[in-house]
Symmetry: D2
Subunit: 266 residues, 4 copies
């Protein structure tokens, strides 16, 4: 091909690509709540190719405050091109009998991360996401990573509340969140606009995330709250919690430069 | 398929789709400048399948302040889901000898319009776009649609200036802009993330825009300025003007529910 | 004084002033709903120096989509410095027996307008405000200024819904909105930070708005809806409608370069 | 007074106040560059009541990524009400012979911090501010607090670049930045709009910042870059660096509930 670039826009050099080419390196802070939604609501968003999990309604809600970069990229010193925050829900499911997760709803606050997510099968919309931080100083404005430390996070989209989460740390967790632990299997989907083919997407396939060079801090845990708010043109609130297990706060990172196609539907 | 929705996210109802299904109805205000860039720079962004235009370097720069909706949609009374603004450049080219335009660079300020653009082959990034308005009152804050009326528009991305345009009306134009008039032919592109296939997109095709039910106001015209600013990770400034013809201000709308594939490359 | 500038920041030239010096010229589109809130709630936000209106609970809710400029300013062709949108509520009250309005809550989407508002006594916070537009073309995406034309507007702050309004035009109004008609009397307030004086503001005075060179379009009217949403750290929803009269859509502009102090409290 | 609230908007409870009452607790990450600007340019923004510093042109540029809260406030678990980022410049000056700093230009990304700054005498405008973070994991996306770690920060306002900074850590600093160390003395300024008094502000006084309960991490240091970009309606670029000393990265926090008036001009 004449033009270069991993994503659009493509040019003779590829430098303007919205998404730089893989590998993509990530590190970020997380707030996660393990919970259960209404099993029928979870089943109603289960994509083609996945089966219901034996523990029906099992979900996790995840806030992440990320910094990412490409290989040798200058994004790290131009943080408007490396920082982003996101909120997403995963449901638990089975893929040919194996436990997996799937992301039906996700919001993110930067365009490069939205596009990168689409390429990975994350159904990203834009949102405004905020998460309490710790700074390592013993001060009233720093909750610290200690019992009693309180964290909160919110997500909104189109000026409407989408989700709120709080965690009050009561100790350290050996394991971290469980509902978020299985490998994630998403759907890559790219529609057609040709007349008569609006229901016949050009890309529609089940894909399995692949990552390497993972590292994590210890996880702090404690009682948590989670609210999923109704909003015009949104359906994530169908997955509102009917039971909440616990919340977790930790730091995590990895590198991504691969994706496995599991099933192609078109 | 089990789930519904024209775009992601897909659910049992399809109501959460970021992009509602076509048809899409549009109306908006436009500022357009017909100009010429360096012919080599235009050739350097000419996509596969198009040939250089015989008038080398011919381009237009376009600011649009849009309101759009789907069929029977409630977006019109929820304007955060119907308003958006965008800035784009078109180059002039030939498709099998026929005059066409192609959009190498475009910025838009809403996620639904970004995604809709990708589906149409517009290589949209997020930006912040502003354009002077007229309100129909004879007041100092209203430039009016009369000789001497001054309009301006700006686009920024990632906190950096991308483009500035001004127009000073000196009369009415019978024809409107010419560099923007030929049918637009874009590239739909959807990359792969599978290891070893990062240079082998899953979708890469030349597509021709189709629209219907077009309407336009009269066009006002006059001398214009256009500046394309360099910015980190951007290449649109390679198409900076070497000669400017004139600028135009008008209102325009149409309906879109089709797209013709011209050439498939994968 | 050594430095110049109507507002901060002040420099040797005054060019960097966030708010350019008066006069300020305005033009904008409006959606207004005349309504009544709970009389006790209106009384609870009545500022020092004003008495309750004899028609208790009388309020208006106003969305405005503005373009403004200073004298000879270049803001009109740099629209990021002239456009802004706002949502506000006015209560009706008496000042020494005369009918007046007062603005207890207002959100705006630009810093220069926020600062200009504080100087005028409008208690502005930042928000995200959207309003349906008409473009003068007979197209599905344009509601038009005709019976059946539907308009909507929303305001959010800090990612939470603040207010929604809709209007369905059923005709033209001779008078326009009545609850918004009396002169507006606000409170200029500038707090102290000196220890022991946090409750002793440096500026606290009742002021009466003055404007000149007013112009308006005809007003369209019809049945309307208004919802004021609760949100953390907000109290505007105490003024939620208990009865709604009608809604109005019109264009209006004026010039401001004066303000009358009615009563000084410090 | 009938209504309550430290800042506007004021109500019967004071809960809607944009700025909660002091004390205000802060913690944040900092990138600071000690540098010198053109001495004449520094003198041109020196406010009434301060004299030039004997080391002419001495300045610091500061990026801060803050988390703040009021006493017992719930802002810490609602981070859209506690997080903000800012960029500012301080010039060095003398107050009655004592070394002080003064802030002539500052941008911040939240309304509550903008208003709080005005109350303290910081001449805040809204901007978009970004700063590289460290997360404590040894991963490619984390620069770490070690030699070779690279940090960057950017500030934009109204869609135009305002400032860029980079730091490459080469070791630890005992002292931290020196140009930013003296106490800060600012100007509280609140204009009048009454006709004939536009040049006669209601509040115009020199104030000295007071803080308590300060804590800081160790400071990392290294060579740095700083660029101040020209932009329409801005003058900060007059303070562009003519010589750069070094950059610093550290975490810092304190509590504020007092301010000393040094000289009153009105």
């Amino acid at each position: 091909m004449r033009l270069q670039g991993y994503s659009i826009p493509r040019t003779s050099t590829g430098r303007a690509s919205l998404v730089p080419p893989p590998p993509w390196h990530y590190v970020g802070d997380f707030l996660v709540v393990d919970y259960w939604a209404d099993p029928d609501a979870v089943r109603a968003v289960l994509p083609e190719g996945l089966d219901p999990h034996p523990d029906p309604g099992r979900c996790a809600a995840v806030f992440a405050d990320w910094q990412s970069s490409s290989e040798g990229g200058d994004e790290l010193v131009d943080p408007i091109r490396s920082h982003y925050r996101e909120f997403f829900i995963v449901i638990n499911a089975l893929l040919d009998g194996e436990e997996v997760t799937n992301c039906p709803f996700i919001w993110v606050n930067q365009d490069f991360a939205l596009a990168r997510g689409w390429i990975q099968g994350f159904p990203k919309k834009l949102g405004s996401i905020w998460m309490t931080r710790t700074f390592g100083l013993d001060l009233p404005a720093d909750p610290g990573l200690r019992p009693g430390g309180r964290y909160g996070a919110t997500c909104s989209g189109r000026g409407r509340a989408i989700a709120d989460m709080t965690l009050t740390i009561d100790g350290e967790s050996e394991e971290g969140p469980r509902h978020n632990a299985p490998p994630i299997v998403n759907v890559r989907h790219f529609p057609r606009l040709a007349a008569g083919r609006h229901d016949d997407p050009q890309v529609h396939e089940l894909v399995r995330a692949v990552s390497r060079d993972r590292a994590a801090s210890k996880a702090m845990t404690g009682p948590a709250t989670l609210t999923l708010h109704p909003a015009p043109g949104e359906e994530h609130d169908t997955l509102a919690p009917v039971e909440i297990d616990r919340g977790y706060r930790f730091t995590f990172g990895y590198t991504i430069d691969d994706l496995k196609t599991v099933k192609e539907f078109v």
